[in-house]
């Protein structure tokens, strides 16, 4: 229990990953290369990527369906997420209980989830069960039962799960409020999982329409990594997924959000809270931003590792918090950059002031050579374990395909890290890291005890944690 380092929760509501960094092997040159893989495009446009890897008798399957919650009808946020839940509740010849039994009886794992820009099915099975794995995955994506009684249940459970989350550690929720407050009126501000209000309005018809329009052959990216025979797997996948017709339209694309100026504060009241959880953000960068590697290197120094500037100030030197950090979410268009931390209610203002001052220091002083050297070594050294498992490799192949990036995104990583020098870092700070005067702020805490003090940061909008939504009215 109680690891000493806070892992900053990646606000998973946007598709792009990326609080973390990326990089390759230790000293320098080559870095890690993506292992070889085979790529095939099926007749219906589905892209298939196969990477045999035989160190364990396991196979991972990752299927991305391009076009996620961005395609939710207006006011019906959570449609894609409910579909993701529903396709696991009976498909093909199996009812809901039989479907779960088939997965777990084989010791397998299979789950479907929604992101802003895709639905993702992830599965891991023993290699002796690859046939079953492909059958279950294609049943879920091609032949879901979408029964009315099951829909009623998944919708009710989704609403109840939000209530349960609000009774739990607020660290897991602060990003949902942050995205909604930062991206007000922009598609990235719509909660991917929906909120209690929107979920109540989603109908089975909405979900079925979404399925018919979005889950189509040319939207599929299928990656398999592990202990299998490529020729055999290619046949299986072609048979399983090749019949799904093409979509009538392209997946939805979000417009580019502009970076906000000035500050505005959302205070989410959790009466009796002994700690204030804060999220300070602005619009950051996209998955394909040419400066993404430089951003990772700079963020490593600022808020991406234990000795980062933020964690040093808020944890190591002051003891104000168990952890402080920063990170980017990078979907297809610029997503959020945010600073997150938490502190005892009575130290709310000193902690936020310190976070702001640390951001000011980044802008004023930039990074010296020693900090840059250290950060480059760190991101290079920490990169290989990110591509160690079948599941991680399969997800990486699909991430590259989803965002139109080639293998050079991985293979060229070490080289890109090597080019991040002082001037590059300075340009990146100016371009991607907001000024402390331009921050959208979310605070979850005991409003009665902090409301007066936080007015100094900007105009305050208040809501209750128990309000059935993540966005302020």
């Amino acid at each position: 229990m109680n690891p000493r380092t806070l892992l900053i929760a990646a606000a998973a509501s946007l598709a792009g990953l990326c609080v973390g960094m990326a990089s390759a092997a230790g000293a320098e040159p080559a870095g890690v290369k993506l292992p070889d893989f085979e790529r095939v495009t099926l007749a219906n446009g589905a892209q298939v990527m196969l990477m045999p890897k035989r160190d364990t008798p396991l196979v991972a399957l990752n299927v991305v369906v391009r076009g996620g919650a961005l395609a939710d009808p207006p006011g019906r946020e959570g449609t894609a997420a409910l579909l993701a839940d529903l396709v696991q509740k009976g498909a093909g010849s199996r009812d809901a209980a039989q479907f779960a039994e088939a997965i777990e009886g084989a010791g397998g794992e299979l789950s479907v989830s929604a992101g802003a820009e895709s639905l993702v099915l992830g599965a891991s099975f023993l290699s002796r069960d690859v046939g079953l794995m492909v059958e279950l995955a294609s049943d879920a994506l091609l032949r879901p039962a979408m029964a009315a009684d099951q829909f009623g249940k998944v919708r009710e459970l989704a609403v109840q799960s939000i209530a349960a989350a609000k009774d739990s550690d607020p660290r897991a929720l602060v990003g949902s409020y942050g995205d909604a407050w930062l991206f007000r009126g922009h598609p990235y501000g719509r909660p991917v999982g929906g909120d209690e209000t929107s979920l109540a309005t989603v109908t089975l018809e909405d979900v079925r329409s979404f399925f018919a329009a979005q889950v189509r052959g040319d939207r599929l990216l299928i990656a398999v990594v592990g202990d299998f025979e490529p020729a055999d797997m290619r046949r299986r996948l072609e048979q399983a997924f090749g019949s799904l017709p093409r979509a009538m339209a392209s997946p939805p694309v979000a417009p580019v959000a502009q970076r906000g100026q000035g500050r505005r504060v959302l205070l989410v009241d959790k009466p009796g809270a002994t700690q204030t959880y804060f999220w300070l953000g602005n619009v950051g960068a996209s998955r394909t931003d040419p400066a993404r590697t430089a951003q990772d290197v700079v963020n490593t120094v600022f808020g991406g590792r234990f000795t980062s500037m933020l964690n040093t100030e808020l944890r190591v030197k002051s003891g104000l918090s168990y952890g402080a950090g920063s990170g980017f979410s990078r979907p297809a268009q610029p997503g959020s950059f945010r600073i997150t931390s938490f502190t005892a209610t009575e130290s709310t203002v000193p902690a936020i002031d310190l976070a702001l001052a640390t951001l000011d220091r980044l802008h004023k002083d930039g990074l010296d050579d020693q900090a840059l050297d250290s950060a480059r070594s760190y991101v290079l050294g920490q990169f290989p374990p990110r591509l160690e498992t079948n599941g991680a490799l399969a997800a990486q192949l699909n991430d590259l395909a989803l965002y139109g990036l080639g293998r050079e995104d991985v293979d060229g990583f070490a080289a890109r890290v090597g080019t991040v020098d002082g001037p590059t870092a300075r340009a990146t700070i100016n371009a991607a890291f907001p000024a402390s005067a331009d921050l959208v702020m979310v605070l979850i805490g005991d409003a009665a005890r902090i409301r007066d003090d936080v007015r100094k940061y900007g105009p305050v909008t208040e809501m209750k944690l128990t309000d059935p939504r993540f966005a302020a009215r």
Binding site: N2, T5, T56, E101, E156, D167, T274, F306, G319
Partner: protein, 457 residues
């Protein structure tokens, strides 16, 4: 979500012990024949598993000390000590350990449980020598800077507020743990009681260091892109000079048999009431603990499990259900928990759990359920061995809790031999009402003051 990760962290062993279960007798683990283990003259055992899949290394150092070794006045000290292991030696200033490690491409973490404290380093193999130097330095000459001792209290307090005081599950489990044990120190919360967090002294840290941070009380696992002989050379150079210490005093208190059900009711603002049950079960090496893993897996592991099907799918009496087994050096607790829907009568949720347990005790599991538990254990075993970190964790678990890392590879026989009768018997013998503590968390009745956090400051 109701934070199952907290449960998982309370029971360090729980999942891993199931996951490290069954290797099919036919399956051999690639590279396992390359593992080399040696014990230095000072008693430090070093186990090396070369694995060149990625150019990195995972080094895990396990100390046999946790909150089980504490007493009133110093609760939470093991975990606080863990924090202080990063905060300076006689020759390295506070913070230098992290700065040097990160600048060479490495990262680290650590965790503390009731039984053990584990330090984890992940680094490119080019940094291996440096990491040995850093690790040996803090084993040999840790120093406590009074200023850091004070500021780190604030860090731990913040950690407590996050994982316990502002998290309903964390609050309930802490109260139940303290109720389930009347004698054994497993009653102590690993994070520590608030008044002790405020009260630890430098002398407490110094005494702990001498007593527990001795080479003969530790095991080191090194897995990754290394040559074993080179690793042992580094171990000889950096770690062999450490002096062995007298064995720490054993924990001798045994929890007496429970004589009847205990119930607690925790009042906290909650939209979703919680109910949890904890039964006294076995220690890590007991065969009974393997049986309990299978039993709990059948009851609550996954959407096809009995509790999920009955409570979540059929009766709508829970948003989520789960189980967990704590099995360490001494007999731990078997947990079943459920999150009730908003406004739901949690007593009904509890009654349904009772029904499912009674059914399992009466009829035992089906053949298909036993096969499922075995397959899940087998797949979990392999998933754990996909990474160098997973290998280091699995080796450490078997070496420390089962006495020999090689037992990791014997586990399948144990699981294959668990019968329906074993499971049925365990359900009847362990999951008895007289042997359990039941905890309910729900909002206080309207008009009364809401419960404030135990550690409210």
């Amino acid at each position: 979500m109701p934070n199952p990760s907290f449960l998982a962290s309370v029971a360090v062993l729980a999942l891993s012990s199931l996951a490290t279960a069954a290797v099919a007798a036919s399956a051999t683990v690639a590279g396992a024949d390359q593992i080399v283990a040696r014990t230095l003259p000072n008693g430090l055992k070093v186990v090396v598993w070369p694995d060149h899949d990625i150019p990195n290394v995972a080094m895990y150092t396990w100390y046999r000390v946790g909150s089980r070794n504490e007493r009133p006045g110093i609760t939470g000290l093991s975990h606080y000590f863990e924090h202080m292991m990063f905060n300076g030696t006689r020759t390295r200033a506070p913070g230098e350990f992290d700065r040097v490690m990160e600048a060479s491409g490495g990262s680290n973490n650590a965790y503390t449980s009731s039984d053990v404290t584990v330090y984890q380093n992940w680094f490119p193999s080019s940094a291996t020598k440096l990491i040995f130097d850093l690790e040996a330095d803090r084993m040999r000459q840790l120093d406590f800077d009074p200023k850091v001792v004070e500021s780190e209290r604030g860090v731990v307090y913040s950690e407590r507020r996050s994982s316990v005081d502002n998290d309903n599950f964390g609050t309930l489990l802490e109260q139940m743990q303290a109720t389930a044990y009347v004698a054994h120190p497993y009653q102590i919360p690993t994070i520590g009681w608030p008044s002790d967090i405020e009260g630890w002294k430098i002398e407490d840290l110094q005494a702990y260091y001498k007593q527990y941070y001795a080479p003969n009380n530790a095991v080191m696992l090194v897995v990754g892109a290394v040559d074993p002989e080179a690793v042992f050379k580094l171990a000889e150079h950096y770690l062999a000079p450490l002096e062995a210490q007298p064995a720490p005093p054993p924990v001798t208190t045994k929890e007496p048999p429970q004589l009847g059900e205990r119930r607690i009711r925790v009042q906290r603002d909650a939209q979703t009431p919680l109910v949890a049950m904890a039964w006294h079960s076995g220690a890590a090496p007991d065969r009974q603990s393997r049986v309990m893993e299978v039993l709990l897996s059948i009851l609550g592991d996954g959407d096809s499990s009995r509790l999920h099907q009955r409570l979540v799918e059929q009766e709508r009496a829970a948003v989520q259900v789960g189980t967990q087994l704590e099995a360490g050096f001494d007999p731990g607790l078997a947990w079943v928990y459920a999150v009730a829907p908003p406004g739901f009568d949690v007593a009904k949720t509890e009654a349904l759990i009772d029904e499912e347990i009674a059914r399992l005790a009466k009829d035992g599991p089906s053949t298909a359920e036993l096969a499922k538990a075995r397959n899940q254990a087998l797949a979990g075993f392999w998933r754990g061995l996909q990474t160098i970190s997973g290998k280091a964790q699995a080796l450490g678990t078997y070496e420390v809790f089962h006495g020999d890392y090689r037992k990791l590879f014997d586990a399948p026989a144990v699981y294959e031999n668990i019968t329906a009768e074993d499971v049925q018997q365990a359900a009847a013998q362990v999951l008895r009402k007289e042997n359990r503590t039941v905890g309910v968390l729900e909002s206080p009745p309207p008009g009364t003051a809401a419960g404030t956090a135990a550690g409210a400051q």
